[in-house]
């Protein structure tokens, strides 16, 4: 099969999103089912792509319009992208199931479109091989996210959306300035070619450009102190969307950050940027964990936790070592799984019991035992308890961090993790050991999803070999820039 068919990853969500207006009259159920089917198809394609990439071991280069890079835009679906595109599709699929329960606010047809386009945006961001195209996909993701954040149309939602928008706007403007500088200095927008030419750029330009690009992406990647929008957006967005934010939107941002960071590693001030990122990531973890400590709203609490975990990923990526990147990718996978589980569980509770305040979680173990189990397993995993998946990635990250000579960062991050343990502990205790209540009926599909996710968490926790080998391949994809340049079939323009 022609590997160019991988472009369907972009085409399918697009065309189906455009189709939604035509089925406006069909009613809520129909549209949600439609989304479910589309995400399933997308997941199927992503699985095929994944198979293809991992069996051949070679990345798929989708060349739009048949132009070879750097003339045309290419999608570079290497081990990392293949893996994450799959995760994006699968998470979207699961959340499409959750939509049936969680989203009641009209207009569903618009929601469906935005939902599909959010998936598209993240897919594009992960797959693209062109820096300006990255900007475009980033904006697609961001604007969809703005709209979805405000989708509930409450004051809080709009407020969160506003904050997201202001910060995102500033970030993307400066990102674009950075892109402009890079273009001005190299004359190309293709990432591989930029990586080739990075060493020759005038050092001042390179410093400014790299700093600006990283700055812009750091806003999306929720690094402190650029993450002020994140908890609000997470809290206000519809529950499935929150899960998607946490599971792949922010991941796409942080991936882009890491990708560009490593592509530009020939730049003279690269080390300085790494130091700055490490400091920012460490602070991210600390501030977010402390902020979560006394949070009454569980959704917001988990949002903070998500921010901190992303900080951990950022830390891993900013180490500048192969081990760090591998560990970061591993953590990305694990984190995506547990955050989907957690936001699914919490969202479901919020839907059933009318709010995500901690009071609603009292006695949850008696009222909705399976959901409670899901939230519990997610929490325990987040804390890093063995037999659950995060344990391995956290261990990897800490080892890599100390190995790279940043023992202080590891110590601070772990210190903050103690705080994390405390608030998850409170949640688990509230769920199982306080409160009383009648048992409620739990939705079978959602329970099935939760059990599936629990099974995956435990499976990775007990037998992390497969996930780890995937992470290593994917990490190598990011870290090994020379290989990346070699994989992209650059035609001999200029260089």
């Amino acid at each position: 099969m022609n590997v160019q068919y991988a472009s369907l990853l972009i085409a399918i969500p697009l065309i189906t999103a455009f189709f939604v207006p035509l089925m406006k009259g069909l009613g809520e159920k129909a549209i949600k089912t439609y989304v479910l089917i589309i995400t399933a198809i997308q997941a199927g394609i992503a699985t095929w792509v994944f198979e293809e990439v991992y069996t051949t071991g070679k990345p798929i280069i989708v060349m739009a319009g048949g132009w070879r890079p750097p003339v045309g835009i290419d999608l570079y679906i290497g081990p990392f992208a293949a893996l994450f595109v799959l995760i994006v599709a699968l998470v979207s699929f699961l959340m499409a199931v959750f939509n049936f329960r969680a989203v009641k606010v009209e207009p569903i047809d618009k929601y469906a479109m935005l939902f599909l386009l959010l998936m598209l945006g993240a897919t594009g961001m992960i797959a693209t091989g062109d820096i300006f195209n990255l900007f475009v996909f980033m904006e697609i993701t961001a604007i969809t996210a703005y709209a979805l954040t405000a989708y509930n149309k409450t004051g809080e939602a709009a407020e969160a959306s506003l904050k997201y928008m202001v910060l995102g706007g500033i970030g993307s403007s400066f990102f674009l300035i950075g892109v402009a500088l890079i273009y001005g200095a190299t004359g190309t927008l293709n990432m591989a070619q930029i990586a080739q030419l990075a060493g020759n750029i005038n050092p001042t330009v390179a410093q400014v450009a790299l700093a600006l690009v990283i700055f812009g992406l750091a806003v999306e990647a929720e690094l402190f102190p650029l993450n002020a929008w994140a908890p609000d957006a997470y809290q206000a967005a519809p529950h499935p969307v929150t899960a998607m934010f946490s599971a792949f939107v922010v991941k796409a941002g942080i991936y882009a950050l890491a990708r560009i960071l490593y592509l530009m590693s020939a730049v003279g001030t690269w080390k300085n940027i790494l130091h700055l990122l490490i400091a920012m990531a460490t602070l991210t973890v600390i501030v977010a964990e402390f902020s979560a400590l006394r949070q009454r709203n569980v959704k917001r609490m988990i949002a903070y936790s998500s921010v901190s975990q992303v900080g951990l990923i950022g830390l891993a990526f900013a180490l500048g070592t192969q081990a760090g990147v591998d560990a970061g990718v591993f953590q990305m996978i694990n984190h995506a799984i547990i955050k989907v589980l957690l936001f699914l569980g919490v969202g479901y509770v919020a839907v059933q019991l009318g709010g995500a305040e901690i009071e609603n979680f009292r006695g949850l173990g008696k009222r909705m035992p399976l959901t409670a189990l899901g939230v519990t397993v997610g929490s325990m995993s987040a804390v890093g308890i063995p037999l659950f998946n995060i344990f391995w990635s956290k261990l990897r990250i800490i080892l890599a961090t100390v190995d790279a000579g940043y023992a202080w960062a590891a110590a601070l991050v772990l210190g903050a993790s103690v705080v994390e343990a405390v608030y998850y502990f409170r949640l688990v205790h509230a769920i199982w050991f306080t409160g009383e209540g009648e048992r409620l009926r739990e939705s079978a599909p959602l329970v099935a999803i939760m059990l599936l996710l629990i099974a995956i968490i435990v499976a990775i926790g007990i037998y992390p070999n497969y996930a780890w080998s995937l992470s290593q391949k994917a990490g190598n994809d990011i870290f090994n820039v020379a290989q990346y340049i070699k994989n992209v079939p650059l035609m001999g323009v200029g260089a």
Binding site: F18, M63, G66, P70, V71, E106, F137, G494
Partner: protein
């Protein structure tokens, strides 16, 4: 007091940032030829795409992916605005009609404005312009209608459907490229069919650029009109 302090602090900070940006930019000489890929485009654009406007060739053909994204972004904006401002029943609440000059002028001009918009996007591969400016021009016509008449409303349903169909058509064109040429967004009209090879510089050339620009023009026009429409109507509670 605090405000002044804050303002002056902001100014100082921004000046430092500005100095830094300027320092960076000074490494990129203004007005010098720094082209790398751009040169390739200029050299090959006519042969490879059949368009003499290199910008539109780049936009639609070489960097078609960006444009697809761009269309999507606008689509998102229209959807998003629609989603956010949605209410069970909404009506226009404007109280004052436009002046007679406006009303008469609009009545006369609307077809021409739309026609001009269409002209712009159809000639995208030849002259400056293209789908986006063209679409925007068309939307202007509807904006003017809204300004002039308090009761005017676009045929919303039809517009939304058009928007969707146009978007789908774009993707379908791209997918046909995938089917025929093996590449997504492949210019099958020019490169496979060689349609209009002898016509370079005239309207029936440029491969799929005019086709796509037409689609984009229609889409942008309906989308922007839709946004205007959404913003001008307010919720009505019984």
């Amino acid at each position: 007091m605090v405000s002044i302090l804050k303002r002056s602090l902001a100014v100082i900070m921004l000046l430092i940032i500005g100095y830094w940006l300027a320092q960076g930019l000074s490494g990129i000489p203004f007005g010098q030829d720094k082209m790398l890929v751009g040169k390739y485009y200029l050299d090959n654009v006519i042969r490879q795409t059949g368009a003499i406007n290199a910008v539109t060739a780049v936009v639609v053909n070489y960097r078609g992916f960006d444009t697809l994204g761009e269309v999507t972004v606008l689509f998102i904006a229209s959807t998003g605005v629609g989603a956010l401002l949605w209410a069970k029943r909404r009506e226009r609440t404007a109280k004052t009609e436009g002046s007679i000059v406006l009303k008469t002028g609009i009545r006369l001009l609307t077809p021409f404005v739309i026609l001009f918009g269409a002209y712009i996007f159809i000639h995208g591969h030849l002259t400056p312009g293209g789908g986006f400016p063209g679409g925007a021009t068309i939307a202007t016509a509807f904006l003017l209608l809204y300004m002039a008449y308090t009761m005017y409303e676009i045929p919303r349903r039809a517009f939304e459907n058009t928007e969707g169909v146009a978007g789908m058509s774009y993707v379908i064109v791209a997918l046909i490229g995938l089917a025929i040429g093996g590449y997504f967004l492949f210019d099958w009209i020019w490169q496979t069919w060689h349609f209009g090879v002898n016509n370079v510089g005239r309207i029936l050339s440029g491969g799929f650029i005019p086709v796509i620009y037409t689609i984009i023009g229609i889409k942008v026009g309906t989308e922007l009109s839709g946004i205007i429409d959404n913003m001008l109507r307010e919720e009505v509670r019984e």
